[in-house]
Amino acid sequence: MKKIEAIIKPFKLEDVKEALVEAGIEGMTISEVKGYGRQQGHSELYRGAEYVIEFIPKIKIEIVVSSQAFADVAINAIKDAANTGKIGDGKIFVSDIQSVIRIRTGEEDEEAL
Protein backbone atom coordinates (compact mmCIF):
# COMPACT_ATOMS: atom_id res chain seq x y z
CA MET A 1 0.00 0.00 0.00
CA LYS A 2 1.24 3.44 -0.88
CA LYS A 3 0.61 6.89 0.48
CA ILE A 4 0.65 9.78 -1.95
CA GLU A 5 1.04 13.31 -0.61
CA ALA A 6 0.72 16.14 -3.09
CA ILE A 7 1.29 19.82 -2.40
CA ILE A 8 -0.58 21.84 -4.99
CA LYS A 9 -1.70 25.40 -5.65
CA PRO A 10 -5.04 26.03 -3.87
CA PHE A 11 -7.00 27.04 -6.97
CA LYS A 12 -6.08 23.69 -8.59
CA LEU A 13 -7.94 21.65 -5.99
CA GLU A 14 -11.15 21.20 -8.00
CA ASP A 15 -9.26 20.13 -11.13
CA VAL A 16 -7.11 17.66 -9.24
CA LYS A 17 -10.07 16.21 -7.37
CA GLU A 18 -12.04 15.73 -10.60
CA ALA A 19 -9.04 14.03 -12.20
CA LEU A 20 -8.60 11.67 -9.26
CA VAL A 21 -12.28 10.75 -9.17
CA GLU A 22 -12.20 10.06 -12.91
CA ALA A 23 -9.16 7.87 -12.38
CA GLY A 24 -11.07 5.76 -9.88
CA ILE A 25 -9.66 7.08 -6.61
CA GLU A 26 -12.52 7.00 -4.13
CA GLY A 27 -11.37 9.06 -1.21
CA MET A 28 -8.84 11.68 -0.12
CA THR A 29 -7.98 14.06 2.68
CA ILE A 30 -6.97 17.65 2.18
CA SER A 31 -5.44 20.24 4.47
CA GLU A 32 -4.61 23.90 4.09
CA VAL A 33 -0.90 24.38 4.52
CA LYS A 34 1.72 27.04 3.88
CA GLY A 35 5.11 26.55 2.41
CA TYR A 36 7.73 27.68 -0.04
CA GLY A 37 10.30 26.10 -2.28
CA ARG A 38 11.81 28.00 -5.14
CA GLN A 39 8.71 30.20 -5.37
CA GLN A 40 9.67 33.18 -3.23
CA GLY A 41 7.19 35.09 -1.11
CA HIS A 42 6.15 38.64 -1.71
CA SER A 43 6.15 41.83 0.34
CA GLU A 44 3.11 43.63 1.68
CA LEU A 45 2.60 47.04 3.23
CA TYR A 46 0.67 48.06 6.35
CA ARG A 47 0.45 51.60 7.68
CA GLY A 48 3.79 52.58 6.24
CA ALA A 49 5.74 49.50 7.28
CA GLU A 50 6.77 46.73 4.92
CA TYR A 51 6.73 43.04 5.71
CA VAL A 52 7.53 39.89 3.73
CA ILE A 53 5.11 36.98 3.39
CA GLU A 54 7.47 34.02 3.05
CA PHE A 55 5.05 31.12 3.39
CA ILE A 56 2.56 30.78 0.57
CA PRO A 57 -0.80 29.07 1.08
CA LYS A 58 -0.99 25.64 -0.56
CA ILE A 59 -3.28 22.61 -0.40
CA LYS A 60 -1.97 19.20 0.65
CA ILE A 61 -3.83 16.17 -0.68
CA GLU A 62 -3.29 12.80 0.96
CA ILE A 63 -4.40 9.52 -0.60
CA VAL A 64 -3.67 5.93 0.35
CA VAL A 65 -3.93 3.32 -2.41
CA SER A 66 -3.68 -0.45 -2.40
CA SER A 67 -1.03 -0.98 -5.06
CA GLN A 68 1.74 0.63 -7.09
CA ALA A 69 -0.53 0.48 -10.15
CA PHE A 70 -3.13 2.66 -8.47
CA ALA A 71 -0.36 4.91 -7.22
CA ASP A 72 0.89 5.48 -10.73
CA VAL A 73 -2.64 6.28 -11.92
CA ALA A 74 -3.09 8.77 -9.12
CA ILE A 75 0.30 10.39 -9.64
CA ASN A 76 -0.34 10.93 -13.32
CA ALA A 77 -3.78 12.36 -12.66
CA ILE A 78 -2.39 14.81 -10.11
CA LYS A 79 0.59 15.74 -12.25
CA ASP A 80 -1.55 16.63 -15.24
CA ALA A 81 -4.33 18.41 -13.40
CA ALA A 82 -2.13 20.46 -11.06
CA ASN A 83 0.34 21.64 -13.67
CA THR A 84 0.35 25.31 -14.69
CA GLY A 85 3.90 25.45 -15.99
CA LYS A 86 4.72 28.25 -13.55
CA ILE A 87 6.92 28.11 -10.50
CA GLY A 88 5.16 26.90 -7.34
CA ASP A 89 3.10 24.08 -8.89
CA GLY A 90 4.16 21.81 -6.05
CA LYS A 91 5.45 18.32 -5.43
CA ILE A 92 4.25 14.75 -5.01
CA PHE A 93 5.69 12.42 -2.35
CA VAL A 94 5.19 8.66 -2.28
CA SER A 95 5.76 6.52 0.77
CA ASP A 96 4.93 3.03 1.99
CA ILE A 97 2.04 2.42 4.35
CA GLN A 98 2.41 -0.22 7.05
CA SER A 99 -1.24 -0.93 7.78
CA VAL A 100 -4.72 0.48 7.24
CA ILE A 101 -7.86 -0.06 9.39
CA ARG A 102 -11.44 0.93 8.55
CA ILE A 103 -12.83 2.23 11.79
CA ARG A 104 -16.48 1.32 11.23
CA THR A 105 -15.98 -2.34 10.34
CA GLY A 106 -12.48 -3.17 11.49
CA GLU A 107 -11.43 -4.30 7.99
CA GLU A 108 -7.70 -4.17 7.49
CA ASP A 109 -5.15 -3.37 4.84
CA GLU A 110 -6.24 -3.89 1.21
CA GLU A 111 -9.83 -4.60 2.27
CA ALA A 112 -10.01 -1.25 3.94
CA LEU A 113 -9.00 0.64 0.77
Partner: protein
Protein backbone atom coordinates in the same frame (compact mmCIF):
# COMPACT_ATOMS: atom_id res chain seq x y z
CA UNK B 1 -50.06 74.81 19.00
CA UNK B 2 -47.14 73.70 21.10
CA UNK B 3 -46.62 75.48 24.38
CA UNK B 4 -43.00 76.50 24.70
CA UNK B 5 -42.06 75.37 21.18
CA UNK B 6 -38.35 76.19 21.27
CA UNK B 7 -37.87 74.29 24.55
CA UNK B 8 -39.50 71.25 23.00
CA UNK B 9 -37.81 71.43 19.62
CA UNK B 10 -34.38 72.10 21.13
CA UNK B 11 -34.83 69.31 23.67
CA UNK B 12 -35.76 66.96 20.86
CA UNK B 13 -32.79 68.11 18.85
CA UNK B 14 -30.43 67.54 21.79
CA UNK B 15 -31.72 64.00 22.24
CA UNK B 16 -31.49 63.31 18.50
CA UNK B 17 -27.92 64.58 18.43
CA UNK B 18 -27.10 62.44 21.46
CA UNK B 19 -28.38 59.33 19.68
CA UNK B 20 -26.15 60.14 16.70
CA UNK B 21 -23.17 60.52 19.02
CA UNK B 22 -23.92 57.13 20.55
CA UNK B 23 -23.32 55.67 17.08
CA UNK B 24 -19.71 56.37 17.96
CA UNK B 25 -19.90 53.65 20.62
CA UNK B 26 -20.20 50.84 18.06
CA UNK B 27 -18.02 53.00 15.84
CA UNK B 28 -15.05 52.88 18.18
CA UNK B 29 -15.81 49.27 19.06
CA UNK B 30 -15.80 48.02 15.45
CA UNK B 31 -12.84 50.15 14.44
CA UNK B 32 -10.73 48.78 17.26
CA UNK B 33 -12.03 45.22 16.91
CA UNK B 34 -10.94 45.25 13.29
CA UNK B 35 -7.52 46.76 13.88
CA UNK B 36 -6.31 44.35 16.57
CA UNK B 37 -5.43 40.68 16.22
CA UNK B 38 -8.11 38.00 16.60
CA UNK B 39 -6.69 36.96 19.95
CA UNK B 40 -7.48 40.36 21.47
CA UNK B 41 -10.82 41.17 19.84
CA UNK B 42 -13.09 40.00 22.67
CA UNK B 43 -11.21 41.97 25.31
CA UNK B 44 -11.15 45.12 23.17
CA UNK B 45 -14.92 44.86 22.75
CA UNK B 46 -15.35 44.19 26.47
CA UNK B 47 -13.35 47.34 27.20
CA UNK B 48 -15.52 49.34 24.83
CA UNK B 49 -18.71 48.26 26.57
CA UNK B 50 -17.12 48.89 29.95
CA UNK B 51 -15.97 52.37 28.98
CA UNK B 52 -19.39 53.50 27.81
CA UNK B 53 -21.06 52.26 30.97
CA UNK B 54 -18.45 53.29 33.54
CA UNK B 55 -17.55 56.68 32.07
CA UNK B 56 -21.19 57.65 31.62
CA UNK B 57 -22.12 56.60 35.15
CA UNK B 58 -19.10 58.36 36.68
CA UNK B 59 -20.09 61.49 34.82
CA UNK B 60 -23.71 61.21 35.88
CA UNK B 61 -22.93 60.67 39.56
CA UNK B 62 -19.96 62.99 39.97
CA UNK B 63 -18.55 64.61 36.87
CA UNK B 64 -21.56 66.45 35.50
CA UNK B 65 -22.21 68.60 38.53
CA UNK B 66 -18.49 69.25 38.90
CA UNK B 67 -18.30 70.41 35.28
CA UNK B 68 -21.40 72.59 35.19
CA UNK B 69 -21.93 73.57 38.82
CA UNK B 70 -25.45 72.20 39.08
CA UNK B 71 -28.09 70.23 37.19
CA UNK B 72 -30.15 73.41 36.84
CA UNK B 73 -27.52 75.61 35.20
CA UNK B 74 -29.67 76.27 32.11
CA UNK B 75 -33.35 76.21 31.23
CA UNK B 76 -33.58 76.45 27.44
CA UNK B 77 -33.94 72.67 27.16
CA UNK B 78 -34.84 69.84 29.50
CA UNK B 79 -32.04 69.42 32.03
CA UNK B 80 -32.11 65.68 31.35
CA UNK B 81 -31.55 66.27 27.64
CA UNK B 82 -28.68 68.65 28.33
CA UNK B 83 -27.11 66.06 30.59
CA UNK B 84 -27.59 63.28 28.04
CA UNK B 85 -25.94 65.29 25.31
CA UNK B 86 -22.93 66.09 27.49
CA UNK B 87 -22.75 62.53 28.76
CA UNK B 88 -22.49 61.18 25.24
CA UNK B 89 -19.04 62.74 24.89
CA UNK B 90 -17.46 61.36 28.03
CA UNK B 91 -16.85 57.79 26.95
CA UNK B 92 -15.30 59.05 23.71
CA UNK B 93 -12.44 60.66 25.62
CA UNK B 94 -11.58 57.36 27.24
CA UNK B 95 -12.05 55.45 23.96
CA UNK B 96 -9.34 57.62 22.43
CA UNK B 97 -6.95 56.58 25.16
CA UNK B 98 -7.88 52.90 25.32
CA UNK B 99 -7.69 52.39 21.56
CA UNK B 100 -4.10 53.53 21.46
CA UNK B 101 -3.01 51.08 24.15
CA UNK B 102 -4.98 48.12 22.78
CA UNK B 103 -3.51 44.63 22.87
CA UNK B 104 -1.50 45.36 26.00
CA UNK B 105 -3.94 46.70 28.63
CA UNK B 106 -5.78 44.84 31.34
CA UNK B 107 -9.45 45.50 31.75
CA UNK B 108 -10.03 46.27 35.45
CA UNK B 109 -7.18 48.79 35.79
CA UNK B 110 -8.47 50.43 32.62
CA UNK B 111 -11.87 50.70 34.31
CA UNK B 112 -10.21 52.54 37.20
CA UNK B 113 -8.75 55.07 34.81
CA UNK B 114 -12.14 55.35 33.14
CA UNK B 115 -13.65 56.40 36.46
CA UNK B 116 -10.87 58.95 36.91
CA UNK B 117 -11.58 60.45 33.50
CA UNK B 118 -15.37 60.41 33.81
CA UNK B 119 -15.54 61.75 37.33
CA UNK B 120 -12.58 64.09 37.42
CA UNK B 121 -10.18 64.69 34.51
CA UNK B 122 -12.71 65.30 31.74
CA UNK B 123 -15.13 67.36 33.89
CA UNK B 124 -12.22 69.56 34.91
CA UNK B 125 -11.61 70.44 31.29
CA UNK B 126 -15.31 70.90 30.55
CA UNK B 127 -15.55 73.12 33.62
CA UNK B 128 -12.87 75.52 32.43
CA UNK B 129 -14.10 75.67 28.83
CA UNK B 130 -17.85 75.10 28.50
CA UNK B 131 -18.94 74.86 32.11
CA UNK B 132 -18.94 76.62 35.44
CA UNK B 133 -15.34 77.82 34.92
CA UNK B 134 -13.56 77.93 38.25
CA UNK B 135 -10.65 79.65 36.49
CA UNK B 136 -12.81 82.62 35.54
CA UNK B 137 -10.98 85.91 35.87
CA UNK B 138 -7.64 84.26 36.59
CA UNK B 139 -4.71 84.30 34.20
CA UNK B 140 -5.49 80.72 33.20
CA UNK B 141 -9.04 81.50 32.08
CA UNK B 142 -9.40 79.83 28.68
CA UNK B 143 -13.13 80.21 28.21
CA UNK B 144 -12.23 82.56 25.36
CA UNK B 145 -10.89 79.65 23.31
CA UNK B 146 -13.17 78.82 20.41
CA UNK B 147 -13.87 75.10 20.49
CA UNK B 148 -17.43 74.36 19.48
CA UNK B 149 -17.51 70.60 19.80
CA UNK B 150 -14.21 69.68 21.39
CA UNK B 151 -11.12 69.49 19.19
CA UNK B 152 -9.34 70.38 22.42
CA UNK B 153 -11.91 69.52 25.08
CA UNK B 154 -12.56 66.01 23.82
CA UNK B 155 -9.96 64.97 21.26
CA UNK B 156 -6.82 66.55 22.66
CA UNK B 157 -7.85 65.62 26.19
CA UNK B 158 -8.11 61.99 25.16
CA UNK B 159 -4.92 62.41 23.15
CA UNK B 160 -2.88 63.75 26.07
CA UNK B 161 -4.11 60.92 28.28
CA UNK B 162 -3.13 58.47 25.54
CA UNK B 163 0.30 60.04 25.21
CA UNK B 164 0.87 59.54 28.92
CA UNK B 165 -0.34 55.95 28.67
CA UNK B 166 1.87 55.07 25.71
CA UNK B 167 4.93 56.51 27.42
CA UNK B 168 4.23 54.55 30.59
CA UNK B 169 3.10 51.27 29.07
CA UNK B 170 5.46 51.01 26.16
CA UNK B 171 4.82 49.15 22.92
CA UNK B 172 3.24 45.78 22.30
CA UNK B 173 5.47 42.75 22.75
CA UNK B 174 7.66 42.26 19.71
CA UNK B 175 6.49 45.41 17.96
CA UNK B 176 9.89 47.01 17.55
CA UNK B 177 12.75 44.70 16.66
CA UNK B 178 16.26 45.17 18.02
CA UNK B 179 17.38 46.26 14.57
CA UNK B 180 15.00 49.19 14.83
CA UNK B 181 12.65 47.79 12.19
CA UNK B 182 8.93 47.75 12.80
CA UNK B 183 7.31 44.33 13.20
CA UNK B 184 4.09 44.65 11.24
CA UNK B 185 0.99 43.51 13.15
CA UNK B 186 -1.78 43.63 10.54
CA UNK B 187 -5.44 44.30 11.21
CA UNK B 188 -7.56 41.18 11.61
CA UNK B 189 -10.78 42.40 10.05
CA UNK B 190 -10.76 45.22 7.52
CA UNK B 191 -14.56 45.18 7.00
CA UNK B 192 -15.03 45.96 10.71
CA UNK B 193 -12.47 48.76 10.53
CA UNK B 194 -14.38 50.32 7.68
CA UNK B 195 -17.74 49.89 9.37
CA UNK B 196 -16.40 51.43 12.58
CA UNK B 197 -14.91 54.45 10.86
CA UNK B 198 -18.13 55.22 8.99
CA UNK B 199 -20.20 54.84 12.16
CA UNK B 200 -17.88 57.38 13.80
CA UNK B 201 -18.41 59.65 10.81
CA UNK B 202 -22.19 59.50 11.22
CA UNK B 203 -21.80 60.13 14.94
CA UNK B 204 -19.88 63.30 14.16
CA UNK B 205 -23.00 64.87 12.68
CA UNK B 206 -24.51 64.76 16.17
CA UNK B 207 -21.18 65.51 17.87
CA UNK B 208 -20.71 68.78 15.97
CA UNK B 209 -24.25 69.57 14.86
CA UNK B 210 -25.62 69.10 18.36
CA UNK B 211 -22.93 71.30 19.87
CA UNK B 212 -24.56 74.34 18.26
CA UNK B 213 -26.96 73.88 21.16
CA UNK B 214 -30.26 74.84 19.60
CA UNK B 215 -32.12 74.53 16.29
CA UNK B 216 -35.40 76.30 16.98
CA UNK B 217 -34.72 79.58 15.22
CA UNK B 218 -33.89 80.27 11.58
CA UNK B 219 -30.41 81.39 12.63
CA UNK B 220 -29.80 78.29 14.69
CA UNK B 221 -31.19 76.00 12.01
CA UNK B 222 -28.76 77.50 9.52
CA UNK B 223 -25.92 77.20 12.00
CA UNK B 224 -26.67 73.53 12.62
CA UNK B 225 -26.93 72.76 8.90
CA UNK B 226 -23.71 74.64 8.14
CA UNK B 227 -21.93 72.89 11.00
CA UNK B 228 -22.91 69.43 9.79
CA UNK B 229 -22.04 70.32 6.20
CA UNK B 230 -18.61 71.62 7.16
CA UNK B 231 -18.03 68.57 9.32
CA UNK B 232 -18.78 66.28 6.40
CA UNK B 233 -16.63 68.31 3.98
CA UNK B 234 -13.60 68.05 6.23
CA UNK B 235 -14.08 64.30 6.49
CA UNK B 236 -14.17 63.77 2.76
CA UNK B 237 -11.17 66.05 2.26
CA UNK B 238 -9.25 64.06 4.84
CA UNK B 239 -10.21 60.81 3.12
CA UNK B 240 -9.17 62.04 -0.33
CA UNK B 241 -5.85 63.37 0.90
CA UNK B 242 -5.25 60.17 2.86
CA UNK B 243 -6.01 58.20 -0.28
CA UNK B 244 -3.76 60.24 -2.59
CA UNK B 245 -0.92 60.70 -0.12
CA UNK B 246 -0.64 57.00 0.72
CA UNK B 247 -0.63 56.22 -2.99
CA UNK B 248 2.10 58.72 -3.80
CA UNK B 249 4.18 57.72 -0.81
CA UNK B 250 3.84 53.95 -1.00
CA UNK B 251 2.39 53.31 -4.48
CA UNK B 252 -0.37 51.37 -2.71
CA UNK B 253 -3.73 52.24 -1.17
CA UNK B 254 -4.01 51.54 2.57
CA UNK B 255 -7.67 51.68 3.52
CA UNK B 256 -6.85 51.95 7.23
CA UNK B 257 -4.84 55.10 6.54
CA UNK B 258 -7.52 56.52 4.28
CA UNK B 259 -10.11 56.05 7.01
CA UNK B 260 -7.74 57.49 9.63
CA UNK B 261 -7.25 60.46 7.29
CA UNK B 262 -11.01 61.01 7.16
CA UNK B 263 -11.24 60.81 10.95
CA UNK B 264 -8.34 63.24 11.23
CA UNK B 265 -10.19 65.70 9.01
CA UNK B 266 -13.30 65.30 11.15
CA UNK B 267 -11.33 65.99 14.33
CA UNK B 268 -9.65 68.98 12.72
CA UNK B 269 -12.88 70.73 11.80
CA UNK B 270 -14.50 70.05 15.18
CA UNK B 271 -13.35 73.28 16.87
CA UNK B 272 -15.06 75.71 14.52
CA UNK B 273 -17.44 74.11 12.00
CA UNK B 274 -20.07 76.73 12.72
CA UNK B 275 -17.69 79.58 11.88
CA UNK B 276 -16.15 78.53 8.58
CA UNK B 277 -17.47 79.22 5.10
CA UNK B 278 -18.23 76.07 3.13
CA UNK B 279 -14.82 75.82 1.40
CA UNK B 280 -12.34 76.29 4.24
CA UNK B 281 -13.11 72.84 5.70
CA UNK B 282 -11.70 71.34 2.50
CA UNK B 283 -8.31 72.78 3.40
CA UNK B 284 -8.64 72.02 7.09
CA UNK B 285 -9.65 68.42 6.45
CA UNK B 286 -6.97 67.99 3.79
CA UNK B 287 -4.25 69.11 6.20
CA UNK B 288 -5.81 66.89 8.85
CA UNK B 289 -5.58 63.89 6.56
CA UNK B 290 -2.00 64.71 5.62
CA UNK B 291 -0.99 65.06 9.26
CA UNK B 292 -2.30 61.57 9.92
CA UNK B 293 -0.40 60.02 7.01
CA UNK B 294 2.83 61.70 8.20
CA UNK B 295 2.48 61.14 11.92
CA UNK B 296 1.51 57.45 11.93
CA UNK B 297 4.92 56.27 10.66
CA UNK B 298 6.62 59.04 12.63
CA UNK B 299 5.27 57.78 15.92
CA UNK B 300 6.50 54.31 14.96
CA UNK B 301 9.96 55.74 14.37
CA UNK B 302 9.78 57.15 17.90
CA UNK B 303 8.77 53.68 19.12
CA UNK B 304 5.40 54.95 20.30
CA UNK B 305 3.15 52.04 19.43
CA UNK B 306 -0.41 53.02 18.53
CA UNK B 307 -2.41 50.21 16.89
CA UNK B 308 -5.28 52.49 15.87
CA UNK B 309 -3.51 55.76 15.03
CA UNK B 310 -5.30 57.62 17.83
CA UNK B 311 -2.36 59.89 18.64
CA UNK B 312 -2.25 61.08 15.05
CA UNK B 313 -6.00 61.39 14.63
CA UNK B 314 -6.96 62.88 17.98
CA UNK B 315 -3.97 64.56 19.63
CA UNK B 316 -2.24 66.00 16.57
CA UNK B 317 -5.47 66.96 14.83
CA UNK B 318 -7.08 68.16 18.05
CA UNK B 319 -4.28 70.69 18.27
CA UNK B 320 -4.38 71.53 14.55
CA UNK B 321 -8.17 71.88 14.65
CA UNK B 322 -8.04 74.30 17.55
CA UNK B 323 -5.34 76.40 15.87
CA UNK B 324 -7.28 76.39 12.60
CA UNK B 325 -10.09 78.45 14.09
CA UNK B 326 -7.56 81.11 15.04
CA UNK B 327 -6.03 81.00 11.58
CA UNK B 328 -9.18 81.08 9.45
CA UNK B 329 -11.69 83.02 11.56
CA UNK B 330 -10.72 86.71 11.89
CA UNK B 331 -12.67 87.26 15.11
CA UNK B 332 -10.79 84.47 16.90
CA UNK B 333 -7.28 85.12 18.16
CA UNK B 334 -4.57 82.54 17.64
CA UNK B 335 -3.14 83.43 21.00
CA UNK B 336 -6.40 82.54 22.72
CA UNK B 337 -6.39 79.20 20.91
CA UNK B 338 -2.76 78.50 21.77
CA UNK B 339 -3.38 79.38 25.38
CA UNK B 340 -6.33 76.99 25.50
CA UNK B 341 -4.28 74.18 23.95
CA UNK B 342 -1.43 74.78 26.39
CA UNK B 343 -3.53 75.00 29.54
CA UNK B 344 -5.49 71.86 28.70
CA UNK B 345 -2.29 69.99 27.89
CA UNK B 346 -0.65 71.23 31.07
CA UNK B 347 -3.57 69.93 33.10
CA UNK B 348 -4.45 66.67 31.37
CA UNK B 349 -1.03 65.27 30.55
CA UNK B 350 0.57 65.45 34.02
CA UNK B 351 -2.58 64.36 35.86
CA UNK B 352 -3.13 61.45 33.47
CA UNK B 353 0.51 60.51 33.72
CA UNK B 354 0.43 60.38 37.51
CA UNK B 355 -2.85 58.50 37.67
CA UNK B 356 -1.89 55.95 35.01
CA UNK B 357 1.53 55.49 36.59
CA UNK B 358 -0.06 54.75 39.97
CA UNK B 359 -2.72 52.47 38.48
CA UNK B 360 -0.05 50.59 36.59
CA UNK B 361 2.16 50.22 39.66
CA UNK B 362 -0.63 49.12 42.01
CA UNK B 363 -2.93 47.20 39.70
CA UNK B 364 -0.78 46.38 36.66
CA UNK B 365 -2.45 48.13 33.76
CA UNK B 366 0.09 46.77 31.28
CA UNK B 367 -0.39 43.14 30.35
CA UNK B 368 2.89 41.26 30.61
CA UNK B 369 4.70 39.81 27.62
CA UNK B 370 3.41 36.31 28.24
CA UNK B 371 -0.15 37.56 28.57
CA UNK B 372 0.22 39.41 25.29
CA UNK B 373 1.53 36.30 23.62
CA UNK B 374 -1.48 34.23 24.75
CA UNK B 375 -3.81 37.05 23.88
CA UNK B 376 -5.77 39.23 26.27
CA UNK B 377 -8.97 37.36 25.29
CA UNK B 378 -7.57 34.19 26.83
CA UNK B 379 -6.08 35.74 29.97
CA UNK B 380 -8.85 38.23 30.80
CA UNK B 381 -12.01 36.93 29.13
CA UNK B 382 -11.56 33.21 28.74
CA UNK B 383 -13.31 33.32 25.39
CA UNK B 384 -12.35 33.72 21.76
CA UNK B 385 -13.87 36.12 19.29
CA UNK B 386 -13.51 33.77 16.31
CA UNK B 387 -13.44 30.27 17.82
CA UNK B 388 -13.55 28.51 14.47
CA UNK B 389 -10.64 30.33 12.92
CA UNK B 390 -6.97 29.83 13.61
CA UNK B 391 -5.54 32.25 16.13
CA UNK B 392 -2.83 34.59 15.09
CA UNK B 393 0.78 34.48 16.22
Amino acid sequence: MLDNPSYIIDTFFAIFAMVLIIFMVPGFAMLEAGLVRTKNVTSVLTVNVMIYAVASLSFMLVGYEYAFGSWDHQDSISKYAFFLFQMAFVGKVVNIMSGGVSERSRILPLALFTIAVGAFIYPTIVNITWGANFLEGTMFDISGMADLAGSTVIHSTGGWALLAAILIMGPRRGRYKKSGAVQVIPASNIPLVTLGAFLLWIGWFGFNGGSVGAISSKENADAVALTIMNTNTAGIAGAIVGWLLTYFTYKKFDVTMILNGALGGLVAVTAGPDQYDIYTPILIGAIGGALVVWFVPLFDKLKMDDPVGALSVHLVNGIWGTLAVGIFVPTVSIMAQLKGIAVVGAIVFPISFVIIYIINKLFTLRAGDEEQQEGIDYTECGMEAYPEFKRSI
